[in-house]
Symmetry: C2
Subunit: 272 residues, 2 copies
């Protein structure tokens, strides 16, 4: 089963476009994890178990593991996801970007070492920096297009031949780079008009859409701008709002995360 | 001492603009390393010892370590470089690029975990993806501008407002992003005219210049295009040509690497 097939099946099976982002910031962990040697693994595992039936994908952010020398915990976590929730794709958020010989190593890191179904990559170095990932034909390659952060406009919004750089990226990927039909794009929820532009350019290509939740993107505008004709086509990511959900009376952290994940999934589904 | 001061001192002390790139591909290692459990560390250490007096910087490429679960060997290697050759800056080649909260984690990975003097980053996500690195005022941030690979032109050569994207990057960094004077740029040796354009835009800013050696860039054209008035301003990188130098009669691999490093340094110095 390819990444795209797995993702499509998860959209249907869980009736969800929600991607749960795993950005484990130990300073925000509940007290019971503070002394635990594998706290990152234990915390993320609890979140995964609490949210698995609400999600179409899990997206671990490798920087949080790398900063703390916790690659072994990321490996264990990916192994846990693959064995316990094999129907939910793992998108490794790494945003790698390097020349061919080096990109090959990064592809091995993502697909072999962590067993990710897909990995995010940066398009700045062009096609030959993306090509090595395409050799893994059953995996996904999700390319930065229009990012949700304020600085995203610095380069992505420069206009060349009458259209902004991010639209060039969308077009290059749709028309040239996506040779095996395994590519997706990252397009932030903070710019629904631009999300709609990208959707027009790329047809049914899956979009990873960060920026709802803590980053403030509007769910209705995002879904209406980015959905495909079948009401899918997106992994709408929420990380911090789910991971560090404020607990209501009687809830522990995992129940609070599950509640916010369900609310987010349902808010998305209301506009599909 | 800041990264820039350390680099300037190394240019002078070693009379060299050569940056030795550490891209340890185990399939190319000499036979004696094949069975060694810390082969990557041992091989790179031998190269470092053989080339230290010829280099103004060392540039380990993290992908080669990450693909093989060898972050511990990269840590050990950086610790070895810092203690044995403290006068030679370590540029961690990671090409990271992500939003603020995540960039902070990557900065900690590079500067705290590995103790790198500088790290390469990708500009596609704009200023707020670079700003967290600038908080480390004694370290360097080396931003991709014009890369040496063929695909580099896909985006970097799009023209906006009459000039290519890579020149926008050079200008943004020179005029806005380099708030503490700690930035540098990556500009490939395969395009000497464009290197000259960048030099004009950025004044004396240090440039990391890959693409000589195995990638075929012309040394004379590169040096003439990129040098500053004082005949420095560049870290001209060679990785594979030095690491996997063909051994002459009577040489072992380390001596061959040293010889090629000396030849490259001298070829560069001939045109400074």
């Amino acid at each position: 089963m390819t990444f795209i097939e797995k993702l499509s099946a998860a959209w249907t099976a869980n009736n969800s476009l929600l991607c749960v982002g795993l950005d484990p910031d130990v300073t925000k962990f509940p007290a019971q994890f503070k002394q635990q040697p594998d706290a990152i693994y234990a915390f993320c595992k609890a979140i995964i178990d609490a949210t698995a039936e609400t999600a179409c994908a899990f997206k671990p952010q490798i920087a949080y593991f790398a900063a703390l020398r916790a690659e072994d915990q990321l490996e264990a976590l990916c192994a846990y996801m693959r064995s316990t929730y094999p129907q939910i794709p793992i998108v490794l958020d790494a945003k790698r970007g390097d020349i061919g010989a080096t990109a090959e190593q990064y592809a091995r890191e993502a697909y072999e070492r962590y067993g990710a179904d897909a990995v995010t990559v940066n398009p700045y170095m062009g096609f030959d920096s993306v090509a090595p990932y395409l050799e893994w034909k059953d995996r996904g390659v999700i390319i930065l297009c229009r990012t949700s952060n304020p600085g995203g406009s610095d380069l992505q919004f420069l206009k060349a031949d009458g259209k902004p750089v991010y639209q060039h990226v969308a077009q290059l990927v749709a028309e040239k780079w996506n040779t095996n039909g395994q590519c997706g794009l990252v397009v932030g929820a903070t710019f629904p008009n631009e999300l709609a532009q990208v959707r027009k350019i790329v047809g049914d290509m899956p979009l990873l859409v960060p920026g709802v939740g803590a980053q403030g993107g509007d769910v209705e505008a995002t879904v209406k701008a980015g959905r495909t004709a079948s009401g899918a086509g997106m992994m709408i990511n929420s990380s911090r709002a789910i991971l560090y959900a404020k607990e209501l009376a009687g809830e522990d952290f995992a129940k609070a995360s599950r509640r916010v994940a369900i609310e987010t999934r349902d808010a998305i589904n209301a506009f599909r």
